[in-house]
Each structure stands twice: as C-alpha cells, then as structure tokens.
Symmetry: D2
Amino acid sequence: MKKINVGMVGYKFMGKAHSHAYLDMPFFFSTEVVPVRRALCGRTEKAVAEAAQKFGWESYETSWKRLIEREDIDLIDITTPNNTHKEIAIVAAKAGKDIICEKPLATNLNDAQAMLKAVESTGVKHMICFNYRKVPAISLAKKLIEEGKLGEIYHFRAVYLQDWIIDPEFPLVWRLQKNIAGSGAHGDLNSHLIDLARYLIGEFDEVIGMDKTFIKERPTLKITEELTTGLATAKAGEEKGRVEVDDATLFLAKFKRGALGSFEATRFATGHRNGQKIEINGSKGSLIFEFEQMNELKFYSTEDSQGVQGFRTIKTTEEIHPYMKVWWPVGHIIGYEHTFVHLIYDFMEAINQDKIPAPNFVDGVRCQEVLEAVERSIKERRWVSIEEVKTRGS
Amino acid sequence: MKKINVGMVGYKFMGKAHSHAYLDMPFFFSTEVVPVRRALCGRTEKAVAEAAQKFGWESYETSWKRLIEREDIDLIDITTPNNTHKEIAIVAAKAGKDIICEKPLATNLNDAQAMLKAVESTGVKHMICFNYRKVPAISLAKKLIEEGKLGEIYHFRAVYLQDWIIDPEFPLVWRLQKNIAGSGAHGDLNSHLIDLARYLIGEFDEVIGMDKTFIKERPTLKITEELTTGLATAKAGEEKGRVEVDDATLFLAKFKRGALGSFEATRFATGHRNGQKIEINGSKGSLIFEFEQMNELKFYSTEDSQGVQGFRTIKTTEEIHPYMKVWWPVGHIIGYEHTFVHLIYDFMEAINQDKIPAPNFVDGVRCQEVLEAVERSIKERRWVSIEEVKTRGS
Amino acid sequence: MKKINVGMVGYKFMGKAHSHAYLDMPFFFSTEVVPVRRALCGRTEKAVAEAAQKFGWESYETSWKRLIEREDIDLIDITTPNNTHKEIAIVAAKAGKDIICEKPLATNLNDAQAMLKAVESTGVKHMICFNYRKVPAISLAKKLIEEGKLGEIYHFRAVYLQDWIIDPEFPLVWRLQKNIAGSGAHGDLNSHLIDLARYLIGEFDEVIGMDKTFIKERPTLKITEELTTGLATAKAGEEKGRVEVDDATLFLAKFKRGALGSFEATRFATGHRNGQKIEINGSKGSLIFEFEQMNELKFYSTEDSQGVQGFRTIKTTEEIHPYMKVWWPVGHIIGYEHTFVHLIYDFMEAINQDKIPAPNFVDGVRCQEVLEAVERSIKERRWVSIEEVKTRGS
Amino acid sequence: MKKINVGMVGYKFMGKAHSHAYLDMPFFFSTEVVPVRRALCGRTEKAVAEAAQKFGWESYETSWKRLIEREDIDLIDITTPNNTHKEIAIVAAKAGKDIICEKPLATNLNDAQAMLKAVESTGVKHMICFNYRKVPAISLAKKLIEEGKLGEIYHFRAVYLQDWIIDPEFPLVWRLQKNIAGSGAHGDLNSHLIDLARYLIGEFDEVIGMDKTFIKERPTLKITEELTTGLATAKAGEEKGRVEVDDATLFLAKFKRGALGSFEATRFATGHRNGQKIEINGSKGSLIFEFEQMNELKFYSTEDSQGVQGFRTIKTTEEIHPYMKVWWPVGHIIGYEHTFVHLIYDFMEAINQDKIPAPNFVDGVRCQEVLEAVERSIKERRWVSIEEVKTRGS
C-alpha cells in the first residue's frame, strides 16, 4: 500500500465534497494507493482550523504557497474560486505535485492553456473534477455508445436547470462576481454539459449562443472574509452591486462527427433544483439521463422486437454497472457525493498505474475552448468555430 | 353490407358512450355489419326525446318492453342501472334479440346466472361491456402473456382508485344506493379488475376481502325522476339518507394456476381521478398498465441483455398494435371513448362471423361469482372459494 | 340553429381528422351553428368518392375550383399539401367563403401574406389549424399565465421530437419534397411550437438557427397520383431522389418581452413518436406540457408553502377545465382527434358571434415570419430579427 | 464531547452499512456525543480481522460474549442474522450496554418481548434499525400528517417488491433458512412496511394474510462458515435444500383509527430491485413515497386551488427538510446509506439528552406482534387481531 499525502486548498462546498471522498473512498474501494488527508489550507486561520478538525485533516495552513512547499505533501487539491486556480496549479506543478482541480479549469482559455502547459512540462499527474462522468449511469452510457448501441449520433440535447438565485434579494456571492467566477451559469453549468458531450460523442466544431442577466443588481455580501462562502451561508447586506455574469446561457452546436447539439444552462428555471438532463439520439437508439434521478439511465433500442420497443429505465445499481460492485445490493441508490468518491478512486488507480487520469487538464482546456467560443459568439453575434478560438486564444 | 338495428335502453354516462361508439365505429373501421341507431329508450319522454336527438337516434321509446317488441330492432343495448339489467336482458333474449349489456351483469349472482341461461337457451348473441379489455395496451398485454413473454405468473396486483365522492356533501346518487347499484366501489370498479385478471391470467380459486363505508350518510337527491342521473348533474337536497354500499373493497386472491392476487377498489383515494392500475409479475417478465396513461404499456423482460434491463414504456399507438391501424399516425393518442368503439367493432365482427363475441355473459357470470365470493368472505370473515359460491349460488 | 355547409379539399391524414371533427362536434357540444359535411374534393375520382362515402360527405368534387363555385358551400376547409394552400384560399376568399386552413399557412411568407390580404379584403372568416392550442392543458396554461401565476417569463423551451423517417429506406413522401412541403421538420413541427410560444408568451424579437438533412437520398414513390398520400400508405420505388428539406431545425430566440427561447424540431429523435414538449419558467412559477401526455399539465408555484413546493401534475379532465364539460367524467382522457373537434367548435361559435376565430391567418402569417427568419438566419449564419423579415418579405 | 465506544457483532451487509454510518456521521453532523468504532466481532478470525481493518474498527473479537464483557465498550450493535439477536441483546442489556439492533427484532414475538423486557428492566438505551423512518421524505410525510394536512386517514397501501431470488438456481442463503431468518419476505420486508405504517398512521387492529413459496427447493451453500454471508457473495453447491420461508406474503389490515391497509412483500416481482412504495390517502390529501426515488415525496392537497390540484413532487433536498441541512446544496441527492447515518445521529442525540431513541425495542415488539398476527392468520385462515396475539404471545 502506498500513501498519497493530500494538501487541499479551499474548504467550502467543494472542499467538503472532496474531504468526504478522501474519507469514504478507502472504506468502499480497495486500492494499492491510498489518500491521506494531510493538510487543509485557507486564508482565515480560525475557520480553516475548524474545517480541518471537522473534515478530518491532520493539519492546516493559511498560505497555499506554504502548503505547496511542504515536503510531506504529494498532491494539491484545488477547490477555491475559479480565478485562483491558475496560480495555485502552476506553482504546484512546478513543485512537482500532482494536482486535482475543480472545474471550470480557469476563468479563461489563456489561463487554462497555461495550466495545461505547466502540468505537461513538469510531468505531474492532473485531474479536473468533471464529476458527472463518474455517475455510473453516465459511465454506462459511454459504454453503450462505444459498443455502437446508438449507431450514428444525430442529436445531443442538454439542459442544466437551477433556480437558487431566482429571488432578486439573493446576494452577490462569489459565483455571481465576474472577476472571481469568470462567468455565471455558463462556466458553472455549461462546463459540465460540454464535458459530458465531449466524453460521450466527441469534439465540437462550431457554436453560437445567447445569454442574459435577468436580475441586474443584487445585495452585496456583508463580510468580505466570507469571500469563498458557499451557497448556504451567504448573507445579504443593504448595498447593491451589479451582477456582471450571465444568469442563463444557451447555445447551438455542431459536432465534428455531424451531430447537432443544443445546450442550455440557467439559474432561472423555477422549480428545478439541479435539473441536469441530457439526451442523445442515434440511428439505432437513444439515451436519456437526468441528474436528479442519477441512479437511472433511459435507453431505447431499435433492436428490440417491433411492437414492444420503448424507452426502458435501467436502474444502474447492479454489480455489473460501473463502480457499483463496492457499494450496496442492487436497488439501493447512491447519491451526489459518490461521484467524488469515484473521482478520487480513479486518481488513485491512475497513480498506481502511472497514468494520467481522465478527465484531466486536457479536458479542462477543451471545455474552456468551447466555453470561450460560445462567449465570443455571443459578443460578436455569429457562429464561432472551436478552431478559431484555439488559434487566437493561444 | 348488413345493417343491425340497435335499440338502446338508458342514455346517461354509458348511454352517451355507447351512442358515440355507434356513431364513430363505421367512420374508422370497415365492417360488413354496420350498426344503425334505430331507437333510444327512457322513462321520461321529454328527456329521452332530447337525448335521441342529441345522440343521433332515429326514434325513441318510453317503454323498454315496447322497444324489445319492435320488429325493426335487432339488438338491445342495456345501459341502465344495474338492478334493471336482468329483466330487460331476459325479455330481450326471449324476443330473439342480440344483447349488449353494461357491467356488472347484475346485482347478484343468481340474476347473472339467469341472464346467461336466457341468452344461451335462446341462442342470441351477447356481450358485456368490460371495455378495458379493448384498450390496445391491454390487448397487447394479453398477446405478450399468451406468447409466454412473462413465463409463469406469480403476482397480479390491481387497484382502482377514485375520489369523486370524497366530499361528505356529495349526494346519494344511484351508484350509492344498494337496491339499484347492488354494491358500491366493489361492483363498479372491482368488476373491471376481476375481468382483466381473468382475461389476462385465468380463473380465481379463492378470495378473502374487507370493505368499508367511510361516509355513512349523504344528502338525498331532490328530483326522483333523475334516478338514472350520471355523476355530473347530481344535485343534493337537504335530507340525508343512509349509504348502504361500500366506499372501498379490498381483497386477496389465489388463482387456479398458482398466482397471488391483490385487489383494491375505492372511491376515497384523494387525488386519483380514475386510477386503475394493474401489474403482473412472471418468471420471465412483468407488465404494468395504468388507465390514465392508457396509450402506454410498461414491459420488463429478463430476456434483455444483462445490465440494460429495465421497465420499458411502450407507446401503443403503432399500426402494429391492436385496433390501432385505423386510427391516427403513431404517437397520436386515443382516449377513453375509443374502448367502446372497439367493443362495438368486435360485436359487429362477431355477428358477421356468427360467433359469440368476447367478453360476454359467461364472463359476466364468472365476474359475478368472484364479486359474490368476496362479499361472502367479508360477511363471514373467512376465505371463500369460487367453487363454493358457484354451487350455493345456482 | 344555423347550418354551415362545408366543402373540404383533401382527404388524407388531416382530411380524416377534420371530417371526424365535423361528425363528432355536434354530438358533444351544443352550438347554434352546426357544420354540414356537404362536399369533399380530390383529384382522383375513385379515391375521393370512396373517401366521401367513408367520411360521411354528402357529395364530392374533383376540382376545387368547382367546389368553391358551388352556391351550396359556405366554408372551404383546406387540408391539402402546403404548396396548394395559397391558390385555394385566395379563390375561396374572393368567392366570399369562410376558410379553415391547415398549417403551415403557406410554404413562404409572401404567399402567407397574400392569403391574409385576401381574407381581410373580402371579410370572410378564417382559421388556421394550430390544433394544439385547443388541448385543454394548453388552454389552462394560457389561463394561468394570463392570471399572472408564472410572473415574469424568463424561459420558453420547446422540442418536437419524432422518428418516423429514421429508416433511410423510408420513401420520399410529399412531406419530404421541398416544392410541395416548403420545408421539412421546420414548417411541419416548429410551426406548432412557434404558434404555442406566441399564444402563451407573446411575440418573437430575433432568432438564429441551424438545420440538417441527415439522410440525403431516399427511394421515390412509385405512383404519382398518390402525391397527397399521408404517412401510412406510402410505398417506396427502386429509384432514389434527393431530400431537399430539413430533417431537423433548431433555433434560439429572444422574445420581445425579454424571455429566452430554445426550439428544436426533428424527425430523427429515435424513440420519440410525437414528442412535443414545452416548458415555461417564470419568476413565480413554471409549466410543463408534453403532447403524448396531453391530458396533463405540470405546474410549479412559488406560492405553495415552503418545503412542500414541487411540480404538480394536473389531470386536465375536470369539468372546470377548458372544453372538458361536454366530454366524460373526470379521469377519462381524451385524445388527439379531440383537438380538432375543439377547433371546429370554436369556429362555429365565432360564426355565431360574427367574430374572427383564433388562431387565424394573422397567426399563420406571424408564424411564417418566424419560420422564415429562422431559415434566413441559417442561410446567412447570423441573427435575424422578425422585423427585418416582415419588411423585406412584404 | 463525549465518546461512545461501540462494539459491533456482524460485518456483512448491515455491518458494513452501520460501520459506514459511524464513519460518516461525525463528518456531517455536529453532536456532543460521538461514536468510536472500538471493536468488531465475528466468529471467523481471519474474516473479522480483515473486516475490522477495512471498516476502520480499532480491534476485533471472535466471541460476542467477550465483546460484551469488555469494559471499554459502551454500546453493542447487533447486525447478525435474526435468530441470534435475542441472546446477544439480553446479555448486553444485563451488562448494562446500550443496544442498537437490526430488524426484525427477533424471529418470533416471544423472543422480541424477552428482549424488550431485558432492556427495560436494565434501563439501557435501545434502538431498532427501521432505517426508512430516517429518509427525509418519510420524516416530512410524518410532519405533514401530524399537521393535519391529510385530514382523516382512509387508506394505507404498501408494497415492497424485489426480484433478487427469482432465479431458481439462486442458493439457499441464510435469509432463506427458517431457523436463522424466521421468515422470508415477511420478516425482512413487511417488517419495514409495518413499522412505517405504525409510525405514520398508528396502530393495527386486525389482519388477514396469505403467503407462498414459489420455488420450493434451492441449491445449498457450499461453505458453512459463510453462514452470515450477505446477498452478493453467496455461491451455490450441487445439493438442494428445502425453502421453508415465504417468497411472498400479502395481507389486509384494519387500523385502530379506521383506515384500511393493504400490504405486500415479495421477492418475486420481476423487474423491481428494491421497490418499496407506500401511499396514504386522507380526507384532505394524499402522500406517495417510493424508496427507489427516496429524495422525493408526492403530495396531493385538496387545499390547492380548484382546477390546479394534482400530485406534486417535492424534492426533499432543501435545507428546510428533515436532516438535510448538513448535507449538500438543494438538488444534490442522498442515497441509501444516509438513512443509517441519520439513525446513528439520532441515537447519539438521544444519549446526549438521556432519552430512549425512536424507533426502539417497543417498536420492534409492536412490529413483531403484527408480523405474528399475519402468520397466525395465514395458518388459521382467518382474521387475527393484534390484541389476541399480544395476549397469547406473552
């Protein structure tokens, strides 16, 4: 058994999810390489000390640079707001540390490319937390597509519908601030959809989008040191600040292999808490996945007998399904947090086999290219090809 | 083309449904034998005259005996309250008229048996309106079971959930009066479930049930001549009358071929308008049908590949599906009234082929045996076999 | 009671649906103005004679001009392929006949505008058969939106998914021929979605789209006189012809009142027979409608108590629901054909009140403007405003 | 902070679930009383040593008596097969240890009563693992019922459908052996339904049931020391043994407050992995819960406006929902294992407040009374009241 000492920066929503994954992964999976929660890092000492205690980290730091310098740290896990990813990742790479980074990789393509260059030139292992790839139903979808069960792909249709900021009095948390988050629903939600599209049916060719900020001003947060505060604990002040990120971004896409794509991310779909839904139609079959029913995959096959064809609901909790053998007997569902357990499992396996895990910074850059092409298409009101962004962007 | 002159008794809910079926059947289906709406019969002249006009009947009568005597009438269609079925049917049979009778066949087994005896001894054709057999999804279910797609049947699970009398101020309409209706939810709703069970998986062996009348008194109806009034137009008076029929009847059943059955009929399932649902589990597969989604059948097959098994939703609107070729292109659903069109179509085909259609009075009697066995089991608080009822009942 | 003598051109899928609506409407509804199926018109005498007989028309014609000339005809109903609508409608209008026309109004905006001009200058009544407006659930949606139950509208999301031509050997029926149909999925399916969007949330501002023809060649039909053949009876020959219409068209839209729209029409969504689905999100609530569950409307309201909010499934079969009082007791569903019964009912009511019914040719033109703006946006790869098309198009 | 040293007997399916709950509870919840995984106990040293290592227990024992004797153990957690519960619990109680026991409490009522007597006479705290009470949706259901949102309860309808032994070659694991498990589907699955019924709508009055063993012989297991093996790892030998437990048990019930109940537990419902479903209908509303969609509760209220009433799907992942504040942002679902985390949390809170937690051995005995009344009703083919069993059984 080999131990990997993890140093994690950030301890809010994603920090909690990652901490838990380090806790639970070895309980369920049996791996040669095992993560150790060595040190947690945050700027506010009292808060990070408490979080380290709560989440089971052996020590804490208040400077991420110091964290990276520590010789007893093998892997840096970045769960901070998007605008800080780049600097931390590059310093970590130069220090020879393996890296796990939350999505989106950066707030713009240039930064993302610089990050990829850093990890590739230093040879460290790197992963980006597109955790939805690790839902068993999505892994099963990938398998079915690769086996040709869908035939030629015609359509990829994806929405990510939320409603947590529909109240105009919901405050200007960091996810709504452009300088920190880079973008709103687009970077936060479309990034997931774009990654799933690439994972399942391949690369994008060109895109055109539109976006909107429905609520243009919101109360600012009172306490600046809560900058990295997650959704739950935000509290509004009396002053108002301008919302500069998108509340919703939609785009059409053409894929290299000929499929048509439709994408929508919004935080203004009243009634939808976390309504990620993707559908894929091919010449021989179709698949439907909804995240709020993440233990199911709907599958239609033209190979079923005539007269009894229909979308069937596969409950992806059987031993035979990806990742499920270690969990519970069939019919006992897993939840959101399990996707992070799978991510960490895959990273540990990659270390063991001396491979770069998937998804990694290459996927982060590819995703950023599409995000940026959409943004440019909105700004310039025209179709923008990924190729064009790649060239101009580097 | 041969014309069959129909004389129908009753013109409320069922009378309307049947009238419409006579109107629409020849529009969609092409049959050698075609029904003619010759005469409608009801006790109140003004009302029956209006109904005849509205529903397209050529003439009307105020005495069902006179109707039966008319030489220009070939077929008597009985849509009156349950307690009147017997006399009308027997007189019609003796007059050599073919008969369509609404369900349940009678208010008790003795009457039902007498009716069957009458039609068999006179050789007239007879049908009972268990219209749910004629839903394409149910016909498809029958086909799949006969083809062995479900293997050995283990379970039949059926509920019929309604809520139209949940308001204690809903009046004492005929369906709530024991002397007219015979029973409440049991005869009205369980009769459908029992017929579907027999149709799909075979005969009952023994049963045990329980029932309840939740609201024991209700406002009586003001106008006695509205005796046969349907659900919609009932109006309450100030006096109260005792409810003597069951609001809900549940029973367990054992089938002759070994399956276990669970049945429930209730008019007190708040939120369910017409929630008929049946599920069948066999060694090789399962089927689920819900009447409010009557254009769908859910099918699970253990013959699907491992890892992608699941209940599939078959939309039964394809040309290949029973009765559907004459309707609309695939994906365009049919509704409640269409089941009656199919009943009439089947009767006309039976006449053409000189056969007794299905379901017929034999099915009516079989159903009555089970209904009565359940009633006896409730009264005597013990299991009652169908055989016992048959013997004692004749 | 006033009789309106109808002359209908065309007798395939839509001709059958309209014929049935004339048959059934007076059975269920009570109107002062009643339609009479006076004459059916088609080019092939044998076929039209048979259809007239089958569908209950009193006479037939083989020339639509002669039909229009007949003094005993009050109303011309046009159910022929799209490219013939214009000429028939204009001649009918000039002859002072009221007009019902199938959608889309024409194959291009110029023609549609000419048709509108004709009916407005002659003062005849006119209707376009956007029948989905007449689904009770859609009428209820309209009512809820008008009452402010959704608040400010943020999103309109609509797909129309079919799969009937996914087999490359499915032949080149008229709906796949550009000179007859005008377009493919776009005019046939997006026209419905556009009309519903306009009806429910108001006018479009600008659009951008993309389309694709996945199968570029298909077998041609053998018998040319079956030009107007519907889906069901088409038979393929050995030769191949080029498919010049779109198999799928998607577009993004901005609405005048600020909502964002996403639209997709495709005949290549394997597993979807007639999958029309629309969703509307507003500041106070949301609505979801699916045509294959047309007796349901899903409604989410932020006015429900906290902690028990959720999308509720309204079964739109209560007396209180639009159009439903005349049908069956609650919980007994209606089907596809009933929407046409409601269309005809509304037209007869409009005649009775001497009003122009809705939807009418104005809606047909507005819809055509959007269809055409999308087409131009595809051709020119840029956003196109409706205003621009209106101006250039007239 | 107070530490509670746990000693757990058994380490298969339930042992794993409990171990994980001890691991995860303190990560999410903040409690004064914190459990410590002190010692794991099993008969086979090699296996228990491995399990202790894997599941994070500090030590292990091969004798449960020795485990109970250890002074450093405060709480005994019993996850062994049903027939061993009684002896372990009584010895533990006498040693003054608090107890958590898996359900069903025992294999018969006498044993269950003895266990209850033991914990009550010694004053130790006790809990029974009816974990479904701890699903947030169920806790919410309880709250809504207590607030009167359902009015008077008319119906309780529950099924627990599984299919894991439908293959006749599935071996005779301990859950299928009467001397170890006590009963089959009845004790395993109906026990959950009975507990939920009692929890939500109150005590049973009388019952009548039926059961069946569809497959009467199965391959025996090869290795006897794998007696406690869970579902997943069982391997069949060549010899066959008789199945003496029920594959399915159904029963009807009358509740003290007047509701009618229908219950079914089966392991032969092909296509259902873990299909627990309960529905409750009251005079003012209804609730539906399905375990495979455990993050949802369906609620119908007659207090919603007329015309927009319908079952609404509440996603029970909001902070406001029971237990959910500590988990993830709204819309991020939890899974099966979380119910055990909630059980352990409730026990620690109970210790902190020096209360007996719920559900406890009283609930275990009450449940056993109903289970036994059903068994007697099957044997004697008659209705059996709970009162009768209580008296005779003690």
